[in-house]
């Protein structure tokens, strides 16, 4: 019995499209399955401040006509409350049979996956960070290829050039706002002493266009980043799905949910539910699993019928608010809503914390007001006079501090439990808070007391390492080509196969790795 396709790719997120390009370009018949969800609520077309001042129906995209933001009040991130981005997250756990406690499990059934609503942070991993069973230099061509396709900005040479390792692939940065300009000026003055203290600052490297590219427009500082960019300046894998569709040998099957995968001799068979709800089977010579770390893990463990817990990497996080007294009373301005400046901070034990700072204008104020220990009316009064001179920062610690496990239960539900190595994380967060407050103080930015807040386990949405690559893979591990031990011709190409997760954003690396695996496999199928 012949296969329907040369390769089936499960998932159309960053990993799925990255793996698909080399396969499709090699002329192979490739089918891509995804949950098929698309945006239901359009983001504003005007810039944020204009839309806020003039649009009487702004509540439709800020709160949602079904009150989505209020229903998701307890979600861990403002991103998960945005009505325009709801499609990127909805229905994931139920459809993929994933249950998590107290861990926050987020995934996507949308075309383009989680890249529909990400922070666009990109970085290269070093050999030490990646801990791949091959030299990271092997990823070099893939890093470049993926970077070229996405369009990165932020390069130009600064103290984080080595840390990100992307400057030659980056366009110039998106212009900074007043607050970040002020911090940057102070940093350049106090640079020597700050660097000596283990604090380095640089422009954020992001997958956002600072120059127009093909059918995407450059960032115009509209400030709608949280709600979605109508100019497509931010990279989304859904744009790559459109490009892949231009190839006649590429078949996109949206709205298909994969139930299980089976290895049947030289073929792999995918059992799935079609948009109509009927069950179907598709066969291919190879299967690329790129459903997102959590969903991919469930599919693979289920196919292996492996019920031992596997480790799950995730970065401990925190957020904080910085106040720049010199900007008190300045009017709000248009500006870029994602990371503008990033820092790398040395901590004890050779560990590093990484984070970025963002403008507060595009973040709904109610997100912050409810956390202030003041009466609501006073909290709003304080914020409306203070927030214009504040920036918000985030912090990521390395994923090796994870203490989370994923286990397939008797009903084939993936159960995720655990969080971090609590004592270590608490010590590191305390140290990071102290050092960050000191460093930013030298830049005339004051960390507001009580604003440093650790996130819940899993809220980073940087998941990895459940099916790690190894030179000599054991049970539940993958080969250098991402092939699962015990599941011939099934390749895991997303975050699940990364052996390590540093504090940096891992999206670019998992995309480069998927591209690398695609390039390795394509010639074997021609």
């Amino acid at each position: 019995m012949s296969a329907d396709f040369d390769v089936i790719v499960i998932g159309s997120g960053p990993a799925g499209v990255s793996a698909a390009f080399p396969l499709v370009q090699a002329g192979l018949r490739v089918a891509m399955l995804d949950g098929g969800r698309t945006q239901a609520v359009a983001p504003p077309r005007a810039d944020f401040l204009t839309a806020r001042a003039t649009d009487p129906h702004q509540w439709a995209w800020m709160i949602g006509r079904d009150f989505h933001a209020l229903r998701a009040m307890d979600a861990v991130s403002p991103k998960l409350r945005v009505p325009t981005q709801a499609f990127a997250f909805e229905g994931f756990q139920l459809a993929n049979r994933i249950a998590a406690t107290p861990f926050v499990a987020v995934g996507s059934l949308a075309t383009g996956g989680l890249s529909n609503a990400w922070g666009c942070g990109v970085a290269r991993f070093s050999d030490a960070e990646a801990r791949m069973p091959f030299p990271v230099a092997d990823l070099g061509p893939s890093y470049r290829e993926v970077a070229r396709r996405m369009g990165l900005s932020g390069g130009g040479g600064d103290d984080l050039s080595d840390y990100f390792g992307l400057d030659e692939d980056c366009d110039p940065p998106v212009p900074m706002d007043r607050a970040h300009e002020a911090m940057w000026r102070r940093y350049t003055k106090a640079r020597t002493s700050l660097c000596k203290g283990g604090f380095r600052l640089g422009r954020s490297r992001v997958a956002v266009l600072s120059r127009p590219r093909e059918d995407r427009q450059a960032c115009d500082l509209a400030g709608n980043c949280l709600f979605g960019c109508s100019r497509q300046a931010m990279y989304s894998a859904s744009a790559d799905v459109e490009r892949l569709r231009a190839f006649p040998n590429f078949h996109w099957l949206p709205g298909h949910l994969v139930d299980s995968i089976v290895v049947d001799g030289e073929r792999t068979v995918v059992q799935l539910r079609e948009p109509s709800g009927t069950c179907a089977r598709l066969a291919a010579r190879r299967l690329f699993v790129a459903a997102g770390t959590l969903a991919s893990t469930r599919l693979v463990l289920q196919a292996l019928q492996r019920r031992e817990p596997v480790p799950l990497l995730s970065c401990p996080t925190a957020a904080f608010l910085l106040w720049l007294p010199g900007l008190l009373g300045q009017p709000r301005e248009r500006g870029f809503g994602l990371g503008q400046l990033s820092y790398a901070l040395q901590l004890t034990g050779g560990r590093t914390a990484f984070g970025s700072t963002f403008a507060t204008t595009g973040i709904p104020m109610w997100e912050l007001a409810r956390h202030l220990p003041l009466g609501r009316s006073t909290a709003l009064q304080v914020l409306r006079d203070l927030l214009g001179s504040c920036v918000v920062g985030n912090l990521f610690l390395p994923g090796e501090l994870s203490d989370a496990r994923a286990r397939l239960d008797d009903r084939d539900t993936l159960r995720i439990e655990g969080g971090w190595r609590q004592a270590d994380v608490e010590d590191l967060l305390r140290e990071a808070r102290r050092k960050l407050a000191g460093a930013y103080r030298k830049m005339n930015a004051w960390m507001l007391p009580g604003s440093f807040t650790p996130g819940r386990p899993g809220s980073d949405i940087h998941y990895a390492g459940t099916l790690p690559m190894a030179a000599d893979p054991g049970a539940g591990q993958t080969s250098v080509q991402g092939e699962v031990r015990g599941l011939r011709h099934v390749h895991v190409v997303d975050g699940a196969c990364l052996p390590a997760l540093p504090e940096k954003s891992h999206t670019l690396t998992l995309m480069a790795n998927a591209d690398r695996i695609g390039r390795l496999i394509a010639p074997t199928l021609i």
Binding site: L328, P331, M365, Q381, V382, L386
Partner: protein, 416 residues
Amino acid sequence: MKVMVTGAGGYIGRRVVAALEARGDDVIAAARRPVAGWSWYPFDLGRPSDITLPAGTQLVIHLAADTSGRGMLSPASEIASAQALADQSKAADARLVFVSSQTAREDAPTDYGRTKWRIERIVLEGAGVVVRPGQVYGGAATGLFGTLVGLVRRLPLLPALLPAPSVQPVHVDDLAQAIVAAGAAMAGATVFQVGEPEPVSFTEFLRAIAQHRLRRWRLFVPVPVVLIELARRASFHRVDALERLGSLLALQPMDTRASLDMLGLCLRPLAEGMQRTHRPRRTLLAESRAVLRYVLGTSPRRDLVMRHARAVEAVREAEPLGLPDWALRRPAWLRLLESPSDLELAWRLDSATALAEATPQGAALFLRVGQPTGPARAVLGLSSAVLTEVFWLCVRTVLPRSARQTRNARTPRGRL
């Protein structure tokens, strides 16, 4: 659906418009004067020749009437207006619902009842529907209900007519639902009679106002009806109250069961309907207005209030919080009720902040978009916020805990 409501600013009209808006209809308030927050269309019963139907109207609810009892309008003018509406509705293929009266009769003792009867004929001939309400009560103390509430409030002694006339009460919100349902009913040329199927004595009705609405005790003194009749005949001038009583005495009972069934309505009990906070929706709206005013520091727009109430209903499926009257009247004092343990109030405030922020009004207030800014203003604003917070903290420390709870936290009503 595009719905024109005549008399939209009146006692019943306001509730009908609210019911239509809650259903998502596009409502045009047809009245002599604009009604704040609603789409307005000029409409004057006294000028029948000027009456036109807005383009695209699918349903006309005709509530406008001369209820003064003093014949401010000529019956001919009211009838001609109804005829104009009926003609135009027919031409536009719009459905016409006419809100009549239990007093409507060919031989009614008042012009009011006879006019209603004549208009009913016009509407029914045009295949429109007629709603005949019983004794309308509840909601804002306006209209005839307001007169009765005022009477009970002022008079320590009230007449208990003998023999007692009967009324068939219907709460104004139940009536609004009935009118909306009549507009959607498949039946044409039908008279819907809406009121409590079991009549209650007028004395009982006044007692319910005293007991459940005003929470006061009143002494009822028996007054033979014959004396009223004598007084009416003996007076040289028309006396409104006596005329109305005469109309009341002449009421014919209505068999309302079939109509209520057809409209799918179950009327609330009189004791419940008389409560000032009887109706979650109304109370919710009042609470939404208060929490929005608290977070905005200024009056919220009506559509924002409705949106917040809808959010509470949709997301929380929650009962009203039971905010004390003083907090509803002076929302700044809500600060006294905020506490980490009152999670429901916190949710109401969170949602009010979110919804208020997502308006141009909120953008101006929170982001200072289009507003003057500057370091001095910011320092002043921050200082004022700190002082305000200190003030409220001081007030909180001297107030007993029981005064700092919402009513659904089981605080005895008398202590608020």
